[in-house]
Symmetry: C2
Subunit: 381 residues, 2 copies
Amino acid sequence: MHQELPHARPVEFRLLNECPDTQARRGTLHTRRGVIETPAFMPVGTQGTVKGMLPEQLKEIGAQIILGNTYHLYLRPGHERLARLGGLHHFMNWDRPILTDSGGFQVFSLGALRKIDEEGVRFQSHLDGSAHILTPELSIAVQEALGSDIMMVFDECIPHPATRSYVAESTARSSRWAARCKKARTDESAALFGIVQGGMDRELRQQSAEDLLATGFDGYALGGLSVGESADVMYQVMEWSLPLLPQNRPRYVMGVGTPENLVEAVSRGADMFDCVMPTRNARNGVLFTSFGRISIKQARYIEDAMPIDPECSCYVCRNYSRAYLRHLYQSNEILASVLNTTHNLYYYLHLMQDMRDAIAAGKFKAFREAFYHKQISAGEA
Amino acid sequence: MHQELPHARPVEFRLLNECPDTQARRGTLHTRRGVIETPAFMPVGTQGTVKGMLPEQLKEIGAQIILGNTYHLYLRPGHERLARLGGLHHFMNWDRPILTDSGGFQVFSLGALRKIDEEGVRFQSHLDGSAHILTPELSIAVQEALGSDIMMVFDECIPHPATRSYVAESTARSSRWAARCKKARTDESAALFGIVQGGMDRELRQQSAEDLLATGFDGYALGGLSVGESADVMYQVMEWSLPLLPQNRPRYVMGVGTPENLVEAVSRGADMFDCVMPTRNARNGVLFTSFGRISIKQARYIEDAMPIDPECSCYVCRNYSRAYLRHLYQSNEILASVLNTTHNLYYYLHLMQDMRDAIAAGKFKAFREAFYHKQISAGEA
């Protein structure tokens, strides 16, 4: 169903529409494993599975691409083993594109268990305490062994708040690491994206973007967002950074975010997203709806025969009541996670489809207003 | 797809084939929600879900009927609430037949938390310690509120070993309770099955069967098996008891068992089965194959690219390696339970289909020999 188009680069981004009044844009990203319509949301498949979902179920709800985690798969089952087993796609029975992160985010999240120097990051496995060093070169080797279609450069996701001098030092190092990643790449049919860092500092964001553009990548991401800053600051950084990136390359805002965050990021010109929010929230019983979030564990739903969201047409909303979903959650049933995840991912993927449709119709601004109006009305009700 | 046939009773059993050389028989059980081909295995859906399986997935692997648990659903979400929510079928999105147990087995399993007298069983909820009394009348009221298609009489599943005097006393009480259940029934379109008890005592099994036949039920079960007795004793009790039951009524052997147990029970004339073995084992990483059981957590599978069972054509064996399933299990992934359960239930349901085919072809004895030969060969390998 994804038609391959001839192109010289490992990915080609085609801009289809730009929206008047906002920076929102619609396009197609052509990869060796198929075409992704953008703006796109990528469900997160940390350990070789999007938790609770079969590949066929992901396709049914419209997932075009998923994300795999280099750190987790490097530790278990191991990238060399995965390569011998035919790569991540074959391992997990997923034939559409996979984007892999660099492992940087997870390694830096280890806190006291890791140490950074110019070479890379020394860390201890969260599984067994074993000692490892992750470098830009190893990160690319792991991502290539997995068979990633879109690889990310190894960088530091800078914590927030941080001193300006630390942000400057880290950002410069990430730029050097990005260049090493490009040099380490051997698989020219897989894309490699650079990641703009620079914390919440406009000048450092600009410097980072310039460094990456000088090296040259197939696409560009904004990293270091959704790390504790306010939404206003996040949007400000997007407004500073996104216009610095080339129009003819995809722009990926990493680890973001809430439905509101996605709408705001798209209106500022972002094309790709990933976030654990829909999947992790699902497992905690928090569900996204057209009128805001609900917590299905609440006693008010104990005998509620309505679907999660009467406006949603996903499999779960077509077949199950809030009362049933609450019962499954309270009973610690596996199906609670399965059904909640199905609904939340459908919500996210459907939101992206709605945004693509609105951009195509030149009505993104009206879409955005209606999106907020609905949530505000529900909040007041 | 299940064509309803006109009949006076809530269920009608039609005997299609009897096998030469064994007591194995093939038939169809016609219920108000469709036809069940026998011998049949019923996946267990304790809390309104067969753990980890969507209703559509159950249908895809050939589940014709599932079992619901009166005790669990009475406590949560409650049978009156379930009735207001449209009954168990609607609640869990399952439109094929449901057989419900009586709650007796679970209540008696509570040990120190329960007390028996002629009226019924006083017990404390395992969820919140609240006090309850389950009687034959309440058991039927709960099963009717759930919308059960085949209800079971409330009885005591006698522990093993037990003194003869206790078995005699309990069996006589179960017979009186069974008669009370029949009297309490108000929904004449739902079937009610009696349960032969009597421990491992031939005379008491015979007495129990006579009592139940005198009262008269739509079908008959053997209870009190797979409670710690040896397989030889279990088969002996089947040989004593099954011939006492009418040829034109279905015979259900409760809570049994291993694949071998099913083959042996079918060869002795049993028609219906339920057991948590395929589902519970799946969640513990134990998988059934044509060459015996394997434990997928073993290190030997870490890089094994083979499917669980090369002879199996289930969704899991067609798409995933042992290495992937081991990885999911080791990583505590939800998908481990989903895929393992899918495979194990397919194995059980497929085994029943193979037995039905063998009986239809008049070759059940040869089937049984081949079944053991394969397992023994694998054991020697």
